[in-house]
C-alpha cells in the first residue's frame, strides 16, 4: 500500500456505503413493522387510516370526528392558489378560497341568482346608471371591526390603483365611471364610487348594463380591510382579515390550507363545519379518498369507468353536474382554407362529435350543439344531435374555392409529449377518412398558445381547440366576448355586422325574456357561419362520502361551504 491517505478515503467510502445500506434496511424494516402492527398505532399516526380488522367495524370513526372536512385543494386538482387577494384573483383556484374568506356587496346563490350579501338592498336610477347600495349594519371583519361603506370605497380604489396591478379590474370594475382613468393613471380617484353615509354606497356606471350586478359578484369588488392590507405589506394575504364565513387559519405552501369558522359571520345559515382542510399536494386524490383520507374528490377520466359502474360501491357516492363550459374547435377565418365558410362547414360535418365523446372521453362530457352550455341562462336546447354527414361534407369541399388546391393544414393544440390528445387525433383521423384531407398536429405549451391567441389580428394558428368557462351567468359572457367583432377573445377573428347589431341590442334590452331571445338569434346566426364547432359541454364528476351533507358543486365558483355539515 503506497498511499495511506487513499486508504483512509477508501475506508470512509466503505463506511458511508454501510450506513446507507443499514439505513435502507431500517427503512424497509419500518414498512414491515407497520404491516404487522396495524391497528391503533397506525390509526394514530395517520388520521382516517384503518388497520387490519377481521370484521369491519360499522362506521369506523375517523380521528377527525365530525369537526374537519378534508377536501382536495382548489377546484379539485390540488396545487397552491396563485393568490388570496380579491383584487388579484382571476382564476378558479384562487376564487375557491377568496369566495369563502371575503365577501362583497352582492353574491350568487347556489342557483346562480344575484342575491344581496353585504348590501341588503339597492335602488337603481331611472336611467339605470346609478346604483345606490344600502349596506347591512351588522357586518364585522373577522377581527371584530365593524364594516362601513368607507371600506368598500377603499377596496374599489385599491383594486383600481395601478400599483396593485390587478389583472381583473378592467373587466369587472371597468364599467364604473373613473376606474379605467385611475388604472391608466389619468385620475387619482374613482369618481363613480361615492360614500353617502356609513351604510350607503353609490356606484355610477358609464352606460346601462344588465349584467353589471353579476360582475359585482366577482372577487374584484370584494371588501378588504385597509389596516390589514397596509400593515401586511406585499404579503398581507398570509393573514387576511375578511368578512366571509370562513377564516384562514393556516397556509403551508405546497401542503395545506386550513379554514376555520368565522364567529362574526353575519349571514344565514352560519358556517357549520368548524374546520376545513384543503390538501394541496396533487396527483393521487383518488387513492386518498378511497383510503378515507379525503372526504371528497374530483374523478379523472382514468377512474371514470370504474366509478360509473352501477355495481361499484363508489357509484353511490358519485355526483355529476354541469360546469358551464363549452369546448370548441376554432377556425381562424383569416387563414386559408378556413376563410371559405364551405370548408369550415365541411370540417364541422366531417367530425362525428358523438363518437369522440363516447370513445375518447368515455361519455364524461356531453356532446355540444350550441355555444351556450346547458345550465347557462339563455340556453336553448336545439333538440337535435349535432349533424354528422360525410357525404355532404365532401360535396362542400368540392364546391369550395380550395377544391383542387387545399393548402397544408396544421391543428394547434396545447400539450406536450410524444402524442397529442386523443380527441385531436380522433378528429384529424375523421377528417382524413371523410374528406381525404391531411391535417398535421402541432403541440404547444399553454403560455405560448395564449400569447398567440391574445392578439386575434396576428394569430398564426389555422385551426385549434379551446374551452371557455363562464365567469358570470349571463349569455353576454359567451356570445359578446367570444364573437363580437374585434373582441380580444374573438379567437376565430369572426366578424358579422348583423351579429354585432343583435349583441348591441341585447346588451341594452331591459326585459330578460326579450334579451335572451335576442342572444339566441345571435347564437343561431353565429353557428350558421361556422367560426367554431362546439364540441363538448364539460361536466363535473365528484365523489363525496355519504356523511358529508349539503355539499354543493356550483358550476361557477361561489361561496358554498357554510351549507355543508358532517354527520359521522
Amino acid at each position: 500500500m503506497a498511499n495511506n491517505g487513499g486508504n483512509r478515503w477508501l475506508i470512509g467510502i466503505a463506511v458511508i456505503l454501510v450506513i446507507a445500506l443499514v439505513g435502507a434496511i431500517c427503512v424497509g424494516a419500518g414498512a414491515l413493522i407497520v404491516l404487522t402492527q396495524q391497528g391503533p398505532t397506525a390509526q394514530q399516526t395517520s388520521p382516517g387510516v384503518q388497520g387490519t380488522s377481521p370484521t369491519r367495524a360499522p362506521a369506523a370513526p375517523s380521528t377527525s370526528g365530525g369537526n374537519v372536512l378534508r377536501l382536495p385543494g382548489g377546484s379539485g386538482g390540488g396545487g397552491d392558489p396563485p393568490t388570496l387577494d380579491p383584487a388579484l384573483a382571476g382564476d378558479a383556484e384562487s376564487a375557491v378560497y377568496v369566495a369563502e374568506i371575503f365577501s362583497g356587496l352582492v353574491a350568487l346563490d347556489p342557483n346562480l341568482k344575484v342575491v344581496p350579501d353585504i348590501a341588503k338592498s339597492w335602488d337603481v336610477s331611472p336611467d339605470r346608471t346609478v346604483y345606490t347600495f344600502h349596506l347591512r349594519e351588522d357586518v364585522k371583519f373577522q377581527d371584530g371591526r365593524p364594516l362601513t361603506a368607507q371600506d368598500f370605497k377603499y377596496s374599489i380604489e385599491r383594486a383600481a390603483n395601478p400599483a396593485t396591478a390587478s389583472p381583473t379590474a378592467d373587466t369587472y370594475l371597468g364599467d364604473i365611471v373613473g376606474v379605467k382613468d385611475k388604472l391608466n393613471r389619468k385620475a387619482a380617484e374613482v369618481s363613480g364610487v361615492k360614500v353617502i353615509d356609513n351604510y350607503t354606497l353609490q356606484i355610477t356606471i358609464d352606460q346601462p348594463k344588465a349584467y353589471f350586478l353579476a360582475k359585482l359578484t366577482f372577487p374584484a369588488s370584494y371588501v378588504v380591510d385597509k389596516n390589514n392590507v397596509e400593515r401586511g405589506g406585499q404579503t398581507w394575504t398570509d393573514h387576511p382579515n375578511g368578512t366571509g364565513p370562513y377564516m384562514l387559519k393556516e397556509y403551508v405552501r405546497g401542503q395545506r390550507i386550513v379554514l376555520v369558522k368565522n364567529p362574526n359571520y353575519y349571514g344565514d345559515p352560519k358556517p357549520q363545519v368548524p374546520e376545513i382542510d384543503f390538501i394541496l399536494g396533487g396527483g393521487s386524490f383518488m387513492t386518498m379518498y378511497e383510503n378515507g383520507d379525503l372526504d371528497s374528490t374530483a374523478v379523472s377520466i382514468n377512474d371514470i369507468d370504474r366509478v360509473s359502474d352501477p355495481n361499484s360501491p363508489l357509484n353511490k357516492e358519485l355526483y355529476i353536474g354541469p360546469e358551464l363550459s363549452t369546448q370548441f374547435v376554432v377556425f381562424n377565418v383569416h387563414k386559408p382554407p378556413f376563410d371559405d365558410p364551405k370548408v369550415r362547414q365541411a370540417f364541422a360535418l366531417a367530425i362525428d362529435r358523438q363518437k369522440v365523446v363516447d370513445v375518447v372521453f368515455h361519455k364524461m362530457p356531453l356532446v355540444a350543439n350550441t355555444i351556450l352550455p346547458p345550465g347557462m341562462p339563455g340556453y336553448v336546447d336545439p333538440g337535435t344531435p349535432p349533424a354528422y354527414d360525410p357525404a355532404q361534407a365532401k360535396q362542400l369541399i368540392a364546391q369550395s374555392k380550395y377544391a383542387n388546391n387545399m393548402p397544408d393544414i396544421t391543428w394547434t393544440t396545447v400539450g406536450a409529449g410524444g402524442a397529442a390528445a386523443q380527441d385531436i387525433q380522433a378528429m384529424t383521423a375523421m377528417i382524413k377518412d371523410n374528406l381525404g384531407i391531411n391535417v398535421s398536429i402541432q403541440q404547444t405549451d399553454w403560455a405560448t398558445f395564449i400569447g398567440q391567441l391574445n392578439d386575434p389580428t396576428t394569430n398564426p394558428y389555422q385551426i385549434f381547440d379551446i374551452g371557455w368557462i363562464a365567469d358570470y351567468a349571463d349569455p353576454q359572457n359567451f356570445l359578446d366576448i367570444l364573437f363580437r367583432s374585434n373582441s380580444a377573445q374573438n379567437w376565430a377573428g369572426y366578424s358579422n355586422p348583423q351579429v354585432d347589431a343583435l349583441l348591441d341590442q341585447a346588451g341594452l334590452e331591459k326585459d330578460t325574456a326579450t334579451r335572451f331571445k335576442l342572444y339566441h338569434q345571435a347564437e343561431q346566426m353565429i353557428l350558421a357561419d361556422y367560426p367554431v364547432v362546439p364540441l363538448t359541454y364539460s361536466r363535473q364528476y365528484w365523489l363525496t362520502k355519504p356523511y358529508v351533507k349539503g355539499m354543493i358543486y356550483p358550476p361557477l365558483i361561489i361561496e358554498r361551504l357554510r351549507y355543508v355539515s358532517l354527520s359521522k
Binding site: M1, N3, G6, L10, I13, L17, A20, L21, A24, G30, A31, V34, Q38, V49, Q50, G51, T52, S53, P54, G79, D80, P82, T83, D85, L88, G90, D91, A165, P167, T168, D170, T171, N184, Q234, T235, R253, G254, Q255, R256, D277, I279, L280, G281, G283, S284, T287, E290, N291, G292, D293, D445, A447, T448, I450, G451, N454, D455, W468, A488, Q489
Partner: protein
C-alpha cells in the same frame, strides 16, 4: 490545493453571469409571457400593456437585467409573478429546498447503498446466474419510467386493499402500508418518504450497478491484479484493497455530480406524491413563465453543480495521486 480551489471559485461569477444572461434572455425573448399567463383567456391588449408597464417589462433588456442583478446582489431575488403572486422568491425556494434535499439525499443513499453492492457482486460473479439476475434488475430499473412506477407502486403500497371472504363472513383490510404525503410533510424519517425516494432511486441504482460492475470487470483483468494474485495475496485482499478501490473512482465522480443535483427536484415524483419540494415549484414556474422563480432555480442549480464538481476534483486527488492537481 488551496490555490486550485480558489482559482476554480473565481470562475464562479463568470459562469453565473453567462447562465443568468442566457436564462434572462430566453425568458424575455422566448414565446409567452407571465402577464399573459396571469390574465389567461381574459387578456385584452390594454390590460396586457398596463401590467407589462407596471412590472417594467416594457423596458430595454439591459435595464431589466441590471435591475435584477442589482436586486439579487442585495439578496432580493424578486417576487413571484404568476403562481404565488407577490411572494418573495427567496422565501418560496428556501421553504421548499430542505424537502427536496431530504428526498434526494435519501434517494442517493438508497441508490448507492443498493447499486454499489449489486454491481460489486455482479462484477465478481460475472456471467453467472447471479450476474444475469442483477443485470435484469438493472435493465428494469432503467426501463420503467417514473410515470409508470408512480401509479403502480402507489397502488400496491399506498392503497387500502379489501379482501372479502364471503364464505367465512370475513372482510380483511390491509394497508395502506406507506401513506401518501397528502398535505403533511413529516420529514426524512417518515414512512411517507420511502416510496418517492425509492422511485427516484431506481435510476441511481441502475447507474451505480452498471458502473460498479463494469469497473470491477475491468480492474480484475488488469496486470496489477495478476501480480497481486501471483505474489500470493488472498483473494479478499486483491478484491477489496486493489480492484474495488479503483473501481470506486468513477462512482465518486457520478456521486459528486449527483450531489449537485440535490437541489433540483423531480417534478414527476414530487407532484405525484404531493411532496412540497422545489421540483413542483420549478415546473409550475416554467410553464407559467414565472421568470424570477426560474432565474433563482437556474442559478441555484448552477452554483450547486460548480461546488459538486469542485468537490469531485478535490476528492480525485486523494483517491488517485496520478490525477492530483498541482498547486
Amino acid at each position: 490545493m488551496a490555490a486550485f480551489v480558489i482559482r476554480r471559485l473565481l470562475w464562479l461569477p463568470v459562469l453565473l453571469f453567462f447562465v443568468s444572461v442566457i436564462t434572462f434572455a430566453l425568458g424575455l425573448y422566448g414565446p409567452g409571457d407571465p402577464v399573459q399567463v396571469m390574465l389567461g383567456l381574459h387578456a385584452n391588449p390594454e390590460t396586457i400593456a398596463r401590467l407589462r408597464h407596471e412590472y417594467g417589462f416594457d423596458q430595454p433588456f439591459y435595464v431589466q437585467y441590471l435591475n435584477y442583478v442589482s436586486n439579487a446582489l442585495h439578496g432580493n431575488f424578486g417576487y413571484s409573478l404568476v403562481k404565488y403572486r407577490d411572494q418573495p422568491v427567496g422565501k418560496l425556494i428556501a421553504d421548499r429546498l430542505p424537502v427536496t434535499i431530504q428526498l434526494n439525499l435519501l434517494a442517493i443513499l438508497l441508490g448507492v447503498g443498493i447499486g454499489v453492492p449489486l454491481g460489486l457482486i455482479a462484477g465478481l460473479k460475472r456471467d453467472t446466474l447471479i450476474d444475469l439476475a442483477i443485470r435484469a434488475i438493472v435493465i428494469a430499473g432503467i426501463s420503467f419510467p417514473i410515470i409508470f412506477l408512480n401509479p403502480v407502486l402507489t397502488f400496491i403500497f399506498s392503497r387500502r386493499h379489501e379482501i372479502a371472504i364471503t364464505t367465512a363472513h370475513l372482510n380483511i383490510a390491509i394497508g395502506p402500508l406507506l401513506p401518501m404525503v397528502g398535505g403533511q410533510w413529516d420529514g426524512m424519517f417518515s414512512l411517507k418518504i420511502i416510496l418517492p425516494a425509492f422511485i427516484e432511486a431506481t435510476g441511481v441504482i441502475a447507474i451505480m450497478t452498471r458502473q460498479m460492475r463494469a469497473g470491477m470487470i475491468e480492474e480484475l483483468s488488469m496486470d496489477y491484479v495478476r501480480t497481486a494474485r501471483a505474489k500470493g495475496l488472498r483473494e479478499r485482499a486483491v478484491v477489496v484493497r486493489h480492484a474495488m478501490r479503483n473501481a470506486l473512482i468513477p462512482i465518486v465522480t457520478i456521486l459528486g455530480l449527483m450531489l449537485g443535483g440535490l437541489v433540483a427536484g423531480s417534478f414527476l415524483v414530487e407532484s405525484w406524491f404531493g411532496v412540497p419540494g422545489v421540483g413542483a415549484l420549478a415546473y409550475d414556474a416554467l410553464f407559467s413563465r414565472d421568470y424570477y422563480i426560474i432565474m433563482a432555480m437556474v442559478l441555484l442549480i448552477a452554483v450547486a453543480y460548480v461546488i459538486a464538481n469542485l468537490v469531485v476534483d478535490v476528492a480525485y486527488g486523494f483517491l488517485d495521486p496520478r490525477i492530483r492537481q498541482s498547486g
